[in-house]
Structures are given as C-alpha cells and as structure tokens.
C-alpha cells in the first residue's frame, strides 16, 4: 500500500517558513489567515506495516512536530 505521512510544525510553535509564505500571499493581495509549511513522506509498504511506529520513532520529532497518516 501507499501511505503518506504529513508532517507540520506543532500548533503554537513559530513557523518562520509559513509566516514568510503568508506575508508573500498577503502582499499579492490574497486574504490568507494562516500558512504552515511542512513535509510529506510517501511510503510504499506491506499492508501490515506499523506506519505509526515509523512516524513516531523516525519521521517526526513530537516535541516540535505533529503528523497525520493518510
């Protein structure tokens, strides 16, 4: 199966990259409330693979990031 892990800066933490993109979009005339920039890790794995374990142990630093498995 193909699984995507979406990783974003944790809520409440300053995300300078997201802020820079937001400012650019506001300058361009878009009404944007908030922007976060993260990353996507796409895995091709067997159906019984523990993707949560992979995410929590390797892909994500829970102190500063949160994630969603798609």
């Amino acid at each position: 199966m193909r699984v995507r892990v979406l990783i974003l800066p944790r809520k409440g933490l300053l995300d300078p990259e997201g802020r820079a993109v937001k400012e650019m979009l506001l300058e361009e005339g878009f009404s944007v409330k908030n922007v976060k920039v993260g990353k996507v890790v796409e895995l091709e794995v067997e159906d019984d693979t523990d993707v949560k374990a992979i995410a929590e142990k390797y892909l994500v630093n829970p102190l500063v990031e949160e994630y969603v498995i798609e």
């Binding site: 933490l13 300053l14 300078p16 990259e17 390797y58 500063v64």
Partner: protein, 226 residues
C-alpha cells in the same frame, strides 16, 4: 587525553576540530566514521559542525540512527565527555542526550556572524576555565539554531544548571535584541543532568588563534585538559 572526532557524510568542521586538538592542544586525536560501533578507549568525543546526511528529514536525525549514533549513547552513559558543536548539538538533541530541539532561525536567514555569550555554568569539564558570568565572543553559522524547549522543562533545566551559554550583548545583557535566532530564553548551549554531555550552536573550534581574531574558543578546549 584521547579524543575522537566524528565524521558523518556531510560533516564539514571535522578537520578544524581535529587541528585544534592535535596542533593547539597537543592531544592524541582520531577520526571515527559513522560505521563505528564502539568508542571505548576515548576520553572525549566531539560531534563537529556541518550538514550530516545533508540535514535530510531533520537536522541531525539521520546521524543519530547510525551505528556511531548508538555508540555515542553508550559512550555518554559510561560517563565519557561528549561535545556537540552546531550540527553536533542537533545530533545530541535527536539522540535525546540533551533536552529540547533546534528549529529554523526566527528570521529565516542563515546566520554567519559573531555573537557574544554569557557563561552561565562554569562548573563543567567544558567550561571550568571560564569565569561564571564571563562574556565571550564566538562565531555562529547556522540556519537551524533556534533552541526550543517547553517552559516546564526549561524550569527544571535552570534548577539543575543545564543552561550553559546564553546569547547576550557586549556588556553581558541577555535580552531579545541580543538573541540572533529566536532561541528560548537566549539559550546557545545546554548540558545534560550529569554534566558530561554539552551541546552549543557557536563554533569554539573556529575561535582559537589571534590570527583569526579570536581568543575565547581555546579556553573551552583548555578546560577539557586541565
């Protein structure tokens, strides 16, 4: 003393560090690569600056999962002295040998400049040649040096003396203006509870000779061998 300098693919301050230890300190020093499984026989191990594994995924994380990463945990648990500089500091937080994490600089820029630092704890093997409260000047060069630690953990760290260096101005004032990257509480360097693991963003190995315009870095290195 017997020193080791870690070399991960992408380390780039390894030779500077090796040079300082061999030529300026006159100590025995070896390079150890990322396949290394044991660090027994060494007294002090340095994780140098650079971009280990290209900073892929998160700065320091891929280095932390190598055989050498595991050996570093073992080495520190046996009481060995472990120093992480810049990317080495990022590796130490990813190994959970030091609390907190290092995030992208607040201002988005890569910072390559001199900073003033206040020595908050001079009781460590790494800092004992400094005075407490002494203001020193070292260079920084990083894109991800914003130290972050949650407030409750910071409180515990303060009580234990784990905050070792803070960014300040030339007079020693610690304030938002003297904080180059948005670090929590102006923190530039921290140690573990036991005091044998120390990580810092500034580069003491680049600040050891008058010809380079610095004197303060060598004091840290001298502290290790007194």
């Amino acid at each position: 003393m017997k020193f080791a300098v870690c070399v991960f693919p992408g380390s780039n301050c390894d030779y500077d560090t090796y040079y300082v230890i061999r030529d300026l300190l006159g100590q025995e020093v070896s390079f150890v690569d990322h396949h290394t499984r044991s660090l027994s026989g060494f007294d002090c191990v340095i994780i140098p600056g650079g971009f280990s594994f290209g900073d892929y995924l998160r700065a320091g994380v891929l280095a932390s999962k190598t055989p050498l990463g595991h050996a570093l945990v073992d080495f520190s648990q046996k009481g060995g002295l472990l120093l992480g500089i810049c990317n080495g500091f990022q590796v130490l937080t990813e190994l959970h040998l030091l609390p907190g994490a290092l995030l992208r600089n607040q201002g988005m820029s890569f910072l390559c400049m001199d900073v003033y630092l206040r020595v908050e704890n001079n009781s460590l093997p790494f800092t004992r040649e400094f005075e407490r409260g002494e203001v020193i000047r070292l260079p920084i060069a990083h894109g991800e040096g914003r130290y972050y630690v949650p407030e409750d953990e910071l409180k515990r760290m303060e009580e234990r003396g784990q905050v070792v260096l803070r960014y300040c101005d030339a007079e020693g004032n610690v304030n938002p203006k003297s904080n180059p990257n948005g670090s929590t509480d102006n923190i530039a360097g921290v140690c573990n509870k036991e005091g044998n693991v120390f990580g810092l963003m500034p580069h003491p190995e680049r600040a050891c000779e008058d010809v380079l315009g610095y004197r303060d870095g060598i004091i840290l290195w001298h502290s290790l061998i007194v």
